[in-house]
Symmetry: C2
Subunit: 222 residues, 2 copies
């Protein structure tokens, strides 16, 4: 029932990197945790033995349902502390993360439940990320149409209003997927088209109709 700080950090990292269906690679984890792949392999074996992750050699890993539960409870602690630091101790939104990284490993359940109540059961942390409740449920952030964003804003693609084959084909060609982070470069008032940018490719234009169809959620600055 009680895990080391290191174990918790691995679980958190896997949670962060894990995208629907896909497995998390050893290398990606090593990068995320600023450690060597060999160390990752060692720890994955241990976490597998503790039934927190699904893992088979060379196949990467995923959180088990128990692992996900743990991840959510760590995220909960982290974000509640971030909220506390920003709201009660006047920390700036970009100073809270580092301190919360330490506070999140204090494991008393009673502490977290009472802190939550003291803070008035907040649902989003200072970065706008949702805070899981005590059962692990999270309030999904509001989905908005991509067309409503303004230049310089960033958002994560989260859904589509029209899932026709033509639409999917278009998105596939542009390499836009669920989870892709999109940055708005310019908005052309003439036809409401947008110049957008996605990681590892050059900016391109999408039409108003397309931008009407893509649902996104705001992404905090990084």
């Amino acid at each position: 029932m009680n895990y080391t700080i290191s174990e918790e950090n691995y679980i958190k990292a896997i949670f962060r990197l894990q995208r629907a269906g896909k497995t998390v690679s050893t290398n990606a984890l090593a990068l995320e945790l600023e450690t060597k792949p060999a160390s990752i392999t060692d720890m994955l074996k241990k976490l597998k033995a503790k039934k927190l992750v699904l893992y088979s050699p060379y196949q990467g890993c995923r959180l088990s349902s128990e692992g996900s539960k743990l991840a959510l409870s760590i995220v909960r602690r982290h974000r509640l502390w971030e909220y506390f630091l920003a709201e009660k101790l006047q920390f700036k939104w970009d100073e809270v993360h580092e301190v919360a990284e330490e506070l999140e490993h204090v494991s008393s359940k009673q502490l977290i439940e009472r802190l939550d109540a003291f803070l008035g059961f907040p649902r989003f942390d200072p970065h706008g990320d949702p805070i899981p409740d005590s059962t692990g449920k999270i309030t999904m952030p509001e989905l908005v149409k991509l067309i409503t964003l303004r230049p310089c804003e960033r958002a994560r693609v989260s859904g589509l209003t029209d899932q026709s084959a033509d639409m999917l084909k278009l998105l596939k060609q542009r390499k836009i997927n669920i989870g892709t982070i999109v940055t708005i470069n310019k908005k052309f008032e003439f036809d409401q088209s947008l110049e957008i940018e996605i990681p590892e490719s050059i900016p391109f234009i999408i039409s108003e109709q397309t931008a009407q169809n893509i649902l996104v959620q705001y992404e905090p600055e990084s």
Copy 2:
């Protein structure tokens, strides 16, 4: 500048056991930290190398001035968190210690200074123990005459108003020293004499005059 949780716990334990002039024995530390004497020896060598303690084999140890500074800052963190837990999160006074043991190792200076301000710079924790300020200074708890205590109360002997040879001889005979914990058993209204008790001896009576002369400070329940 940054110490492990284990190192901090050793420093705290030495601080707790250290009495003026005297050295802290390896065995006493092993008992306090619920570990084996051999482990203590190992760690004392490391703490000596880091100049936190004065130590020579078979002679016990003491905190260096740097060690004392660290100890005070750990005590400060611990007591501020205890105050927070009791005052803001409605923890009972006897529930705060365990959680504070974990929180005290979160090392951000900024966190502690802001927490202190948020709490209104409290000077005593929920057990009545003084909270060192950011420079390590502590407000001494008020000294009161032993005669003012009531049955069942406990206090630590902290000073004398009259330091005549006769008085000192009397106290020596009764084995009452600075630091001795005294419990009041009964108060005889007739002559204001007190039946008191000190550790490892049977209860005895002291006169009103004597009790007028002994200065004590309240001791939190244990």
